[in-house]
Symmetry: C2
Subunit: 121 residues, 2 copies
Amino acid sequence: MNSLLLVAHGSRREASNEEIRSLTESLRHKDGNCFADVGCAFLELAEPSIPDGIRACIARGATRVTVFPYFLSAGRHVASDIPDEVNSMVEDYPDIEITIAPYLGAAGAMGDLILQQSGSA
Amino acid sequence: MNSLLLVAHGSRREASNEEIRSLTESLRHKDGNCFADVGCAFLELAEPSIPDGIRACIARGATRVTVFPYFLSAGRHVASDIPDEVNSMVEDYPDIEITIAPYLGAAGAMGDLILQQSGSA
């Protein structure tokens, strides 16, 4: 079973964490979603952690987990912190295929989304 | 003339600020972009500031400026800090129409972008 794990930074402001949980819930039911399961996790300041998020996917039956960094820039969190946490889980679960997708800010379609959201017809 | 001003948080890591400048440059030349001009500005830690970014749009001939908050969550920056800076410019330039678009994280198409970027066919 293929699972998607949306990973956000996490915030002291609980409403920001809830935005991520709502987005995760909407992805679960989205047309065109080929992932059988979608979860979320936070790098810091909110729960679940990345390891706990990956463990939850596996507990729900995942054999492949795609970790998606919901970050706009390729800073330390994307370059090191998330890979470090994911790699420790790869060692713990050698039979599960755990990969990291390109981070959000690298999306080729980001420009289209910005123009759409800004009202450029 | 309609201008779009992409507003990012700004980072101590200059490469992150350059990502924003590159994105801005790519938007300038993008098919389907109805804005005659695209600029960028930063809330903090990088230049130009939001007021300077708006002034630069006006200096290049803008009569309408759409400020786009390139932020993922509706925290204090989106709710207060950016509006405060923009409102002070609205007072300074009563003949220019300056508006704030919905922030990036509120985009209805965000789910599609995530699935696309995660490799969901």
